[in-house]
Structure formats: C-alpha cells, structure tokens
Amino acid sequence: MPAAAHFYPQGAELQRKNYIGRKVNKTELHIEPKAFDLEKIRRDFPILGLQVHGKPLCYLDNAATTQKPQAVIDSLVQYYSSMNANIHRGVHHLSEVSTKAFEDARIKVKSFINASSEKEIIFTRGTTESINLVANSFLRGRFEDGDEVIITGMEHHSNIVPWQLFDSIKKIKLRIVPVDDNGELILDDFEKMINEKTKLVSVVYVSNSLGTINPVEKIISAAHKHNVPVLLDAAQAIQHIPVDVRKLDCDFLAFSGHKIYGPTGIGILYGKEKLLDELPPFLGGGDMISKVTFNGTTFNQLPYKFEAGTSNIADAIALGTAIDYVAGIGIDAISSHETEILEYASAKVAEVPGLKIIGTAKNKSSVLSFIFDNIHPHDVGTFLDFEGIAVRTGHHCTQPIMDRFCIPATTRASFAMYNTKEEVDILVRGLKKITEVFN
C-alpha cells in the first residue's frame, strides 16, 4: 500500500479523507486460502440444496449468474437490519457506519484486482454500465467524428452496442479483430488495425459464449505501443482467473458483482487514475459534485465524480463480502478446480452422439458451448431442465459470434467453484437421453 497521504483528497469534502487512503486493517483483505474443500463450499451455498422437477438442482448456468454463499446473503440482511443509512455527508452514527462499510468494500475490490488506489474503483450497476460509462465519457471528452474503436468478433452485445448508440451525435467506426474456427482471436493484423483515429481498444477477456481466454497482455502491449488505451471486459474472467490490473497494465477493466458470487445490480469500473481524471463525468447529480451553482458545477474528486446519486450501498457491501469469500477460497484454487471440471466435461460430452463443441481454444475457462445437428438448443434446455439441470440456450447476447459460426444458438453449460464431476455426469446422461428421444 503506497503512503496514505498521497491519496488524501485535495480541498473540499474533508469528511471523505477518513475513507480515501486510510490505512487498511489487514484482516479485512487477506484471508489465507484454505485447502479447497468442495463439500464445504457446496454447503456454503444454500440454493444448491434445492430440488427442481423432483431432482437435485444441477446448476450449470454460472456464466449467466453465480449463486450466492450464505455470507453474501447474510451481509445483505445485516446491512438492512443494522446499518441502513445514506452514505457520505451524514453526521449521524448510522451514516458513518454505512459509509465505512461501503468504502471498505471499495478497498476490498481495489485489493482484489491490485489497483493502485481506491480512486480507481468506481461502483456501477454492472459490466454493461461500466462500458457505457467509458463510452459516454469518451463521447464527450475524446471522440471525434470518424474515430475508431477496436473490438473483437466475440464481444458480448454490451461491448458492441454502447459504441453504436450515439451514431447520431458522433460516428464511431468499429474495427473487429477476427476469430478463427477454434474461437481464438486472429491477432496477425491487429497492429495494422491501429491508426491515428484509434481512440480505444475494448476487448473481452474471457468469452461468455466460447470460453476463450484471450491473450489480453499481447493486445495491451501492442495497443500501448501506439498510445491507445485498452478496456477489458472481465465479466467472465474476474471469478475464474487471477486478475491483476497493474500486471496486465490495462487502462480500464469492467466486471459485474453477480457473476462473482455477489448480488445483482452492482459492478465495477476500474480505470487508471490519470485517465479517469481527464475524462468528463457520465451521469450528473448528487454526490458527484463539489460545488453547484446555477451558472455551473465543479465536479467531485475520484472516484465520486463517476458515482452520481445514491449508490447501491447494500449490494456494494455484499460484493465486498463476496470478494472476501472468493479470496478466502483462493482464486488460484478456484481456477484449478474449474479447469479440471471443464476438461472432464469436454472429454465426457464427446461421448454424446452428434454433439459438437463450439469454442475449442487452447486456453479456455469454465464455458462449454455445444450444438447438435438435429436438436435445437431450446429443446435441449427444456429436457435438461426436467433432469434438474440449469443450462442456458440461445445466442448468449453474442449474435455476431453465432453468425461467425453460422449457428443460431448453442447450449451452454458453464461452471463455478461449486460444480462437481458428478454434475457433469448428470449432464452427460441427460444429453444422451435427449439424443434417444430425437433420433
């Protein structure tokens, strides 16, 4: 942790100096990882005890959202039962308690992704809002007509649509890094795509529909050679692989709380302090200002400049609890367990007649997408549901990559730390049954 004084706010909002840059109690952040105890982990998630259609729930829809451990559920209950008050500016006890808990959550996030300062951690509603924030701030602060943003062929709609949204104000040209038949990026011509009009490279870290872990380090260093900042959509990375923003040297990183065992409605935008300082705010309102008159407004310091209105306090705090939980298990341990499950599942589904895996990159994480020649994913999804198995079917909000593979949809099983090989066996048995009905 750098010298605390460095991060004290300048000027107004003295109250916040208690929170920004204050010394962190080590117990808040560093929980020594224990041995990976799958049975104990499963017991921590009450929903995993459910029965669906008379069968034990086999939850394989984790890329859509993860389940919540009891600690996260308790955290929400605890907040509303004993802490609820609006944060910042309050002089009463509860407001101080909730402000501290809220800012502690920010510190936990900062520590988890190894950011340099809490000022670089902005609470948003989720990955989508984080990307929209950058898009809108760039629109007002950086983009000129005809500027270019480089994305990839495997982006979620949330990293395509925000760049197209203000077409009527400024035309931003999207340049697309192509994808090969295995679902890997073709980076041969990547540097040639960068020119003086390129204002940002915005790429997905782990593909939600293919599972590909993209070589983002390579992308970042190539972009930086040309002084182009890089945004990483880490919605499917943060819960599966270690993410260190300083090691990656990414300029922005976005993720959602609900995909890392936290609540919905809360997410993070990490941004390098210098960049965030330069960018104009996205939303205007309370909390993001330092002085308001009818003639004009002075904006607040980071990170508050980007947090207009009352924040999602309870869910931010519960996200902090989720991060504690993940850190307690250890992201490396989670990663190696999930890799084992994915490898086991990939080998096992090969036994199912007519099944074809979509996304066969060498470096993959936790997503197994597949199709059948003669059985539509929707039918697969309904049949599996009756076996108690939750999977997602459809285009997974990635229509362009579906078009790339000339398919309308896939069935996607996606894994989390609590999934077991037995659950993979249940999935495979379910799939075999379906092929019997349809053939």
Binding site: H376, G394, H395, M402, P408, A409, V437
Partner: protein, 151 residues
C-alpha cells in the same frame, strides 16, 4: 420421460420436427412474411399462394426448435385450403390453446391435430416458439410488409 415433458413433446410434434411438411420455398407465392424471435434466434419465412381469399398453398423455411418447427409444419397442413377468415379463427383458437385460455375439452378436441400443442401452456417460455409461425402466417395473409418479432 416425465409426463409434463411428454405432454409437450408428443410423438406428433417429434415427427413433424423430424420430417416437416411443406418445408420449402413456394415458387408461386404471392404473399409472404418473415418472423423472428430475437430471444432465441428462431427465424421463419412463410410463403402463401392466396387466390380469391383462399390459401391455395402454403410453405415455410427457417430454423427453430422442435416446438416452433412442428408448429409451422402442422399449421401448414391445416391452413391449406382455408379462407382468410377461417385461418384467422383457427389462429385465435390456437393462440388461446397455447396460452392456456382454451380449457374446455370439447373445444380443444375441435382443434383436431393442433390439440397436441396443449402441453405448451405449462411452459410459458415456449409459447413464443409455438406461436411464431402463426403470427408470421397472419402477417403474410394480411399482406402487411413488416417483419414479425415475438418481442
């Protein structure tokens, strides 16, 4: 197979999914429409040959799940030869069937083969699969120049 599931995937539906009837582009079509379900990517194109208010011929192409394909296939066999008005009445009844509004046994039986779609009412997420072809057919029949979407 679970009873509720068997109710949804009746043999007739599985059969029509495997060998859909009138699954082609109609060369002498004079009215057509495209339907699309943005949620799941199902696409359908309905072709009609309508003369003197009678559907002389009907066909479809597209991709979709077993429910949507079987629904289009069965619809094509039933609508062929019907007048515009008759097609509209059958559409209404079918819609009521899959949304659970049509519950009388006699009324359901009146629908003949279409009664196999009664199971859809227990699967709210699949109602759109069953009705996409029908909405698209109605649009084609009305000669409207618009794309049908379920959303």
């Amino acid at each position: 197979m679970d009873t509720e599931l068997r109710e949804l995937y009746q043999q007739v539906i599985l059969d029509h999914n495997k060998s859909p009837r009138n699954f082609k582009k109609l060369e002498n079509a004079n009215q057509d429409a495209e339907g699309y379900n943005p949620l799941c990517g199902d696409k359908i194109h309905i072709y009609l040959n309508v003369e003197d208010g009678i559907v002389k011929d009907i066909s479809f192409i597209g991709s979709g799940c077993a429910i949507s394909k079987a629904s289009a296939s069965l619809m094509s066999t039933i609508i062929k030869g019907k007048s515009k008005e008759e097609a509209g009445i059958i559409f209404e009844k079918f819609h009521d069937l899959v949304t659970g509004k049509l519950t009388g046994e006699a009324e359901i039986e009146e629908l003949g083969k279409l009664a196999v779609f009664a199971g859809v009412r227990d699967f709210p997420a699949r109602v759109k699969c069953a009705s996409l072809a029908w909405h698209t057919m109605m649009t084609a029949l009305q000669g409207k120049d618009e794309k049908v979407t379920t959303e």
